[in-house]
Point group: D2
Chain length 361, copies 4
């Protein structure tokens, strides 16, 4: 079973492999009359782009997005969405004629090689096929459009943990995000990580990470009590990102250790007698529906499976081998997962914004 | 937006509130010719049933399930599914004529009261409407049918943490699950928890918990590389359970702290030259597709929001109040979430089993 | 493959067989705060109810609908939808202990007996299982709710042809619909049909029919240019009704015989400079989107397959037999299809009204 | 509401406007290991291609399809599907810099101009946007892939009526289809039509048509009793084609005029005691499920709305005008609808083949 679409009203279908001529996506259900240019999307893609520091893969893709449909320049010269499907495409330019003969036969531990072959009986070993992280470029592109659908929403992500090393949350400063190659909001942690990760990289090893995504300005009322909970759909999309092994909303697993008294987010009346929450353990979602507080989600990314140390494995034809993955790779794939996580949250919000408007608006 | 269906080929739609005449579900897409009686379902419902110990709500519902459609007795006298929708219903019998005037106006912290009212403008305050945990009875019922769809699969859940107290995994014994009111696989932990939770209960407090679900006998190949990952759909369904704030697959958030060398599940050839994995950090899912190893998922449940200690809140009409929830409630809702989590995993497996059979079978 | 749900935002799932304990449906996605009682639905069910004249089956079902969920009495004493799933149920009361041994083995020509057995390997021969027209009662019930979703819309159906005998469209008078047992808007035709159909009935024969459904007050803009055309979804739902073999929108097949000049619906400005169409060959839908003109759909219903004249067939076990269907049946199933067709159009309009409001509203 | 996807397991999403850089589609759910090259698709596209005779638009598009993803050359040098999304694209090459100022303001009768503007508030007047028949190229491309999914199936279409002139069914010869520019199976009718349509063309007029699609070799058991009837899904897809106003299955509207005795398809045992039907009024579908007989569907296409004779209309800004459509157009769009209708039937069959295999296989 292949299934490459997500969303109910704001629907995104992605396609393409890293070693085909291009990758792309179709965004269906975007409302009309939203200003949209390639530059709006390109900015987010550039954040995710590989090869920007020694901590991300040296594969160099310019990743220039093209809008192939769904927009039109109006009488005022402004390019806007027309309400029809928006087709986005990025041509693959960096397809080195590499020797894949080893990967073709050998199942790399931690990769989808074995399960892919077992399922489909055919596998695009050149770069991982659909399991390649390259697919996430289209998620970022779709997320750029999604951000424009919900008025006033701001979705930002940060790396909050590399290996066992967490940030100090008291140091959190969104302005720091762009000052280091980790999307790290804690200046001190970023400095420490630079050394730590360089050590990992030099050993040809890799390490896991945790990303936190925060959405401010989410209207009250998005989501549903059951089976289309806002947090459920966010969890689903975050878990669909390559290498993700865990997802939390609000205080997440920590909630298991708290009493009801500690965990309750109390309410008072604030300015203009508007309801205010005195804490946000819930992460902005109560009973599946947004509360107006910032929506907070975290996800854990496992260490890159491609490492220099040989690991035991088997071949397609049933022989025992040792596998060592040479070539370019990220010591911490979690870094580049930050803009991807942002995009997934943005898409979930756009979908639920339109659903809410349709049925309860 | 209301949305009360999950699944793509094995689809479940639930309906009903705890204070209406009944709750129920429709299971659509179940294959024909599967033996199915009410007793097959009732056994699982009885596990979830409230009022079985002092640690679960004293609301007493016999929870007798009725099959209203989709089955037929064949020539051999065996009742089997016909491939048509299976309608299940449980009548609500314990609807005490309680005074809801307080709850009607006051937003209980941690509950969906505020967001529900903000979204819909109308709220069934009698027992929480669709946000009531009573809905989970129908998940368990659907799960009982789902278990029969995948040949040879066994799905079992266990409580592995209450508050800060985790089980000792070395003591894990599935046979212990039925020997204590916690679905706890560690005899010693269960004994400790009994005292600990009794203290919580007597104070009118509550505590969170973590549940682990293990599915053995899952065939290789269920799932998809993207947007219908087996682990994604499991995460989605677990996160849709009331009060769940976090989900993990395999080693989950721990993966963030590991190196690629530590995290890799190495492979060798076993008996009959069959592939074997030497570890299962991945939790039985690689690249979104089942590997044949046990599928392992964990989820965190927040503490029951209904507690005796007053919490600050506001009313529907905009006044500040203190809210204290009297009446029956569970000190740890996580306990009753165990069979619900099992059911969600079983449903995800049934859906993907049918999808795999259709497209790659 | 069983699939018992239709609609994207206004979703209806039906369940049940005519010989089980009940039939029912779940309506998911209905907006909150719409006044709704059982009486609102019962009126439409009574129109469809069998046994009302000698021209419809003598099976007597009181067809009393119960609302099991999704409504609540508000502070003003008015029962309203809550935005959660509306579960409707009708108990089956007229299950005579009939001898089905013949039907069990013999494939009735024109019925689904042969294909059902070939597909599922099991068939509820008692009354046709899911292929029974009894299922259409739930469509009518869902349609009653759908009518309340689109403000100001009025959906009415009429029988316009029985066998070769068409109404005279110049005689069309909606007020006549309730004055004859055919839902016929032409008084003279109704009188003629009464004799004609009585002849058919006495011979134990049956005859086909054509139904026309007209929706007035449909807002401009419902539908989509492609794959969710309003007329496409109406055609899909009408074709899903038992025994329907053809569907037309506007002038339908007649359009094949016209020139572009004849077929064009010209436009002028009317009162208040509002656009008016000078004709409605399009049947209220242009390019898949409603134009504000009445939406007009027609569908052909084949003659009842159950007749007294023996027809050649085979048995399940592979023997040649003659089949003659004794017992109660309708000489023209098209009559009772009128309220069903209305309901299908109403459901399509409700779904597209909500979709339009969500994405372009 | 925009919605540009159809199918449940074999899903097709189309995108693009005739005046953008390209049009395309994504086919998701195609099973792996099916040999597939661009040439397999190109052959069907060439049948639909405009400019092949004086009876179809002179717009000249080479319509060269490119496969951008989802295939891979295996070890034997054969390009096969991989089970991942197949992205197809056709670049638009014939975008004359035409003056659209008139069309921009004026609503062409019979076109979607008025409803499009009313719905979206923005309209791609250059060539009709998503309402352009150019979109149907991607349906044909998807149909070419769908044909390969169902083993042994053959789907063929024919024009059976132009204006009031029907073919003589006794003359039906599939071999004639390629001998005339009408896909006409009746040699004599084709000769007559050539003169007739030339007259229409010279007057700048247009005329409607009826197309019949026949699928041979359809396995027994595809479809469902309700809401996923094979004939329902075929009707839905045929009605989604531009300008289609009516759809019939089997004898269609003629069934309304028949008695039960006349309409019944009787059964006998044939060679090897296999069930045979003595007629096929049902068009290969009984109770929504394929019977093994040829699946037969017909659809009516209205006359091209673009004609030289001025028609009354209004402008976007609310003025009364006369509209005359200059430039290239087809005198009978029904001709080019033949391969499109074939493709839609092929796609419905592929989808139901996979669904059947998943749930009842």
């Amino acid at each position: 079973m292949s299934h490459n679409t997500f969303g109910h009203l704001f629907r995104v279908t992605t396609w393409g492999e890293s070693h085909g001529p291009a990758i792309g996506c179709v965004i269906d259900g975007c409302p009309p009359l939203i200003p949209l240019t390639e530059a709006d999307i390109q900015g987010y893609l550039d954040k995710r782009k590989p090869g920007q520091s020694k901590f991300t893969t040296q594969r160099r893709e310019p990743d220039q997005v093209k809008i192939l449909s769904g927009v039109m320049v109006d009488d005022d010269g402004i390019q806007k969405t027309t309400g029809t499907p928006i087709s986005l495409m990025i041509e693959n330019t960096d397809q080195r004629s590499k020797d894949y003969s080893e990967i073709k036969e050998r199942y790399r531990p931690g990769h989808a090689d074995f399960t892919y072959d077992a399922k489909y009986g055919i596998r695009d070993y050149r770069g991982g096929g659909r399991s390649s992280a390259r697919e996430t470029a289209m998620r970022v592109a779709a997320g750029a459009v999604a951000r424009k659908v919900v008025p006033g929403v701001q979705v930002r992500g940060a790396l909050v943990q590399i290996g066992p090393h967490r940030i100090n949350r008291d140091n959190w400063d969104w302005a720091e995000i762009d000052n280091n190659p980790f999307f790290c909001p804690d200046k001190e942690a970023a400095a420490f990580w630079a050394d730590y990760l360089d050590g990992i990289r030099k050993k040809g090893s890799s390490i896991g990470a945790v990303i936190e995504v925060v959405a401010d300005g989410v209207p009250v009322g998005l989501g549903a009590p059951i089976y289309a909970k806002l947090d459920q759909d966010i969890a689903s999309l975050l878990m669909s990102i390559n290498a993700v092994k865990g997802v939390e909303i609000g205080n997440g697993f920590e909630a298991a250790e708290l009493t009801g008294e500690e965990n309750a987010d109390e309410m008072r009346l604030g300015a203009n007698n508007q309801p205010v929450f005195l804490s946000n353990n819930a992460g902005g979602v109560l009973g599946g529906i947004s509360s107006g507080e910032p929506v907070i989600a975290r996800f854990a990314v496992k260490p890159t499976s491609s490492i220099l140390t040989p690991r035991q494995s088997i071949t397609k034809s049933g022989e025992e081998v040792d596998v060592m993955t040479k070539g370019r790779h990220d010591p911490c794939v979690g870094i580049r997962a930050v803009p991807v996580g942002e995009a997934m949250v943005a898409c979930a919000l756009a979908d639920h914004y339109l659903r809410h408007r349709g049925q309860v608006g």
